[in-house]
Amino acid sequence: MEPPPARGRDVAASKRESAGEEAELELGLGLSVGGGERTGAKRGARAEPRGRILTARDFPSSVGTKRTADESVSQEGGGGSPTSGSQVVGWPPIRAYRMNSLVNLAKAPRAEDDLSPNEKGKSKDGLEDKTRAGGKADVDGREQKHIGFVKVNMDGIPIGRKVDLNAHACYETLAQALEDMFFRQAKTIDLTGAEENRQVKKSSKLLNGCSEFVLTYEDKEGDWMLIGDVPWGMFLTAVKRLRIMRTSEVNGIAPRFQQRSERQMRKPI
């Protein structure tokens, strides 16, 4: 069902070649000069050698902005080929309304995640909670925000990310997504090969306690809580933002954490 990954790489290569200029078309997150999600459009001119000016792929809305003086790349007159798809205003030709909705579009959970019946059962209570009594409009119109994108920060990395909680129905996929976001990219932040390896070893499950890092969240009352204790749906109603915390900092809840991590390791995953 998935197209061969090699093709993707070829496409990227030919895209760069046909670009004419040296488009720094890296698609991941790194330390961003000029920071923030919306500088994607200004990418070409300011890319660092380490290729770290990147668009967080979650925000294609840069195409919706009017052309600024900086985006001079492709507009010198006819026939100029664009340096890359996303630097060209109005390309690809997708209606702005649809583009905006793509921001909410989750990337399909990788590995064709059909939730197993086990997992469905596990999150049963959570899903009951999620039945909109708390989530959406009440008759008196009490304001309830859509749980959507929440901030994620990781200790040691100054620039945060955002993750769409709507794209996940359980902790497993969320943790997987965060690992992909932070640990795979973390490789490229470091300069030496040695560091790379070390980072790679770190990228083990955030949930089962084997990692140097632990996934926590700040709830509505401002407290930092360990992820995984409450049913998923309840978590969604409580979460304000996420933090990938060093295990060493999880002092106060360490005993519980260790107990829990032992439980997790015994659970079939």
Binding site: R7, S81, Y97, E112, D114, K130, R132, A137
Partner: protein
């Protein structure tokens, strides 16, 4: 010539529905012109600046159903400034003043204010149908006015509009006496919805056939609605996430099974894949399925679903379905006529994308295919030639390769031959959008073979003025031509100026036409409005005729330059 009284002739004319035919009838003689004029009810205005409301009313005083289109097509892609124009208020005001008995209003790419909606709701007693597509400028307050005041409202259809949500109780504004609704689409609204009001509205609308919900409507409300309205033919699901073990979910299953008339599904604006089996029972009768706004459904789930939709005629889907998934479509949906594949990740490197393989598979399995919109990573001439051979019935063929100047991915050649095969084989082709690496040659093919072509969209293509000239001279029926980032200049623009009066409009942006060329054209053709759009402020200082214009939009008109253009839009 007239041996019959007027009423009889009028009755005969009632059977002539096509506007084209009615226009022809009007030319026969004065009395037919008169009879036709007073009996014309449906009027279509493809460019709201081609005519004025006063002239419309003068020409067809009996108009009941009006369709208005405003901004040029490329406004969809943010190429047109927001304040460019397309205001509907003057139209409403004029129609109201003249006491036109308006019943239906359909608008596309127009600026619609709350005032306009309010005026519609008050001025036209028999108002029945409001359809807004890609419009902006209004809020839920305007919707409240429509709901409250249009006593015989049948259709309220909001498609892909930018609506400011004031979180009011607009749904509550439908009075208890309103029982006439046939179609309600508010899928594009972002704010909260009064669910109880929605349920009550559905309960008292026995004629409701089409209902499209916004994301704020959860699954349990959907279940209750379906219990009330099993007669629905067309459903847009809002949120579709629930615990499949719950009672609500099993009630939903029961409700869905009773929806024997369901033929069209869309929405799923929020969806958990494990809930999808709930709709399996109705899949076998579906003729239309739009999952292009449904986030995060894995390809495997998509194919499981589509395998059961053997009667599908229209499918809108995201490219997460992949080439293999399209293969499943090809083997399951033999009646498929329209396919749209949208990119889920427009700037990505194509992890979940489709290629020429998917399209070829579709062409082999679905010979009835006549309408295509396909966003893909790559394409080859060979694939296009195969597609052309398998599917000679294309009316609309729109191909968008995400990298707009990408050549044939296996030969590195331009895609001229491939598109050439399409236009040669598909003799009924009316709409075509090109992409990929293309030279003047493709335009030579188009000019030679695309005899029925009415709309052509070109980007980053061609080598010289010859390209554009091939099209202008060859395509006799071309009505809308939109070009961006192509090396076409004044020679192409000015060679046959009379051609533009036979067309609705021409858009050229980031091409080689200069201000001088545009001025020349405007001077020669007084019945064209030649608009120059310059958002770059520096242009105002150096108004040199040799300067290339950023954006030019010209259109034929009977009413001269418009008076509502903003500062940076000049009509020459």
């Amino acid at each position: 010539m007239n041996y019959f009284p007027d009423e009889v002739i009028e009755h005969v004319f009632d059977f002539v529905t096509s506007n084209k035919d009615r226009n022809t009838i009007s030319l026969v003689c004065k009395s037919w012109y008169r009879i036709e004029k007073f009996s014309r009810q449906r009027v279509f205005i493809g460019n709201c600046y081609a005519i004025s409301p006063e002239r419309l009313i003068g020409r067809f005083p009996g108009v009941k159903s009006l369709t208005l289109k405003g901004k040029p097509h490329f406004a969809d892609f943010n190429l047109v400034p927001h304040d460019w124009g397309g205001f509907v208020y003057p139209w409403i005001e004029a129609l109201a003043r003249s006491r036109v008995n308006l019943e239906e209003l359909r608008m596309k790419r127009m600026v619609v204010t709350d005032d306009a909606l309010e005026l519609i709701s008050r001025a036209f007693v028999n108002f029945k149908t409001l359809v807004l597509v890609s419009c902006e400028g209004f809020t839920t307050d305007g919707l409240a006015a429509i709901a409250a005041n249009c006593r015989f409202l049948r259709e309220l259809d909001l498609q892909e509009n930018e609506v400011e949500d004031h979180r009011g109780q607009w749904l509550n504004c439908f009075p208890e006496s309103c029982t006439s609704l046939v179609s309600l689409n508010f899928a594009c609204l972002k704010g909260d919805i009064n669910l109880a009001a929605l349920e009550r509205l559905v309960a008292r609308s026995p004629n409701l056939k089409s209902l499209k919900l916004s994301r704020a409507v959860p699954l349990d409300t959907l279940q209750k609605i379906l219990v009330r309205a099993p007669q629905l033919v067309d459903l847009g699901v809002g949120s579709f996430v629930h615990d499949p073990e719950s009672e609500t979910y099993s009630k939903l299953l029961t409700a869905i099974e009773k929806c024997k008339s369901m033929r069209s599904l869309s929405g799923f604006l929020e969806v958990a894949a494990y809930c999808l089996p709930a709709i399996y029972p109705i899949c076998s009768s579906l003729t239309s399925l739009n999952l292009s706004y449904a986030p995060g459904i894995p390809g495997s789930e998509l194919t499981k679903l589509i395998r059961q939709c053997r009667k599908l005629q229209r499918l809108w889907i995201l490219d997460c379905i992949g080439d293999k998934g399209l293969g499943v479509v090809a083997s399951s949906c033999k009646d498929l006529q329209e396919l749209r594949v949208f990119p889920s990740d427009p700037y990505g490197v194509g992890n979940a994308a489709v290629t020429e393989e998917g399209l070829v598979a579709i062409s082999k399995g679905c010979p009835k295919l006549n309408s295509l919109l396909y966003f893909c990573q790559q394409m080859t001439n060979a694939a296009l030639q195969t597609v052309a051979q398998n599917c000679p019935n294309f009316i609309r063929f729109r191909l968008c390769i995400l990298d707009p100047t990408k050549p044939d991915s296996s030969t590195d050649q331009p895609l001229d031959e491939g598109f050439g095969a399409i236009v040669q084989s598909c003799k009924g082709l009316r709409r075509l959008s090109l992409s990929g690496l293309l030279t003047d040659q493709v335009f030579s093919f188009i000019g030679k073979f695309a005899e029925q072509l009415e709309m052509l969209s070109i980007a980053f293509a061609g080598n010289s003025d010859k390209g554009m000239l091939y099209v202008l001279t060859g395509c006799k029926k071309i009505r809308k031509l939109e070009i961006r980032d192509c090396p076409f200049g004044n020679i192409a623009l000015l060679t046959d100026v009379g051609k533009y009066e036979t067309m609705r409009s021409l858009w050229m942006s980031s091409c080689d036409v200069t201000l001088g060329g545009c001025k020349t054209l405007a001077k020669k053709m007084p019945r064209l409005n030649v608009e120059i759009i310059n958002e770059n402020e520096e242009m105002e200082e150096c108004i040199d005729d040799r300067q290339k214009v950023e954006k030019m939009y010209l259109y034929r008109t009977l009413v001269g330059p418009r008076k509502d253009a903003p500062e940076h839009v000049w009509t020459l």
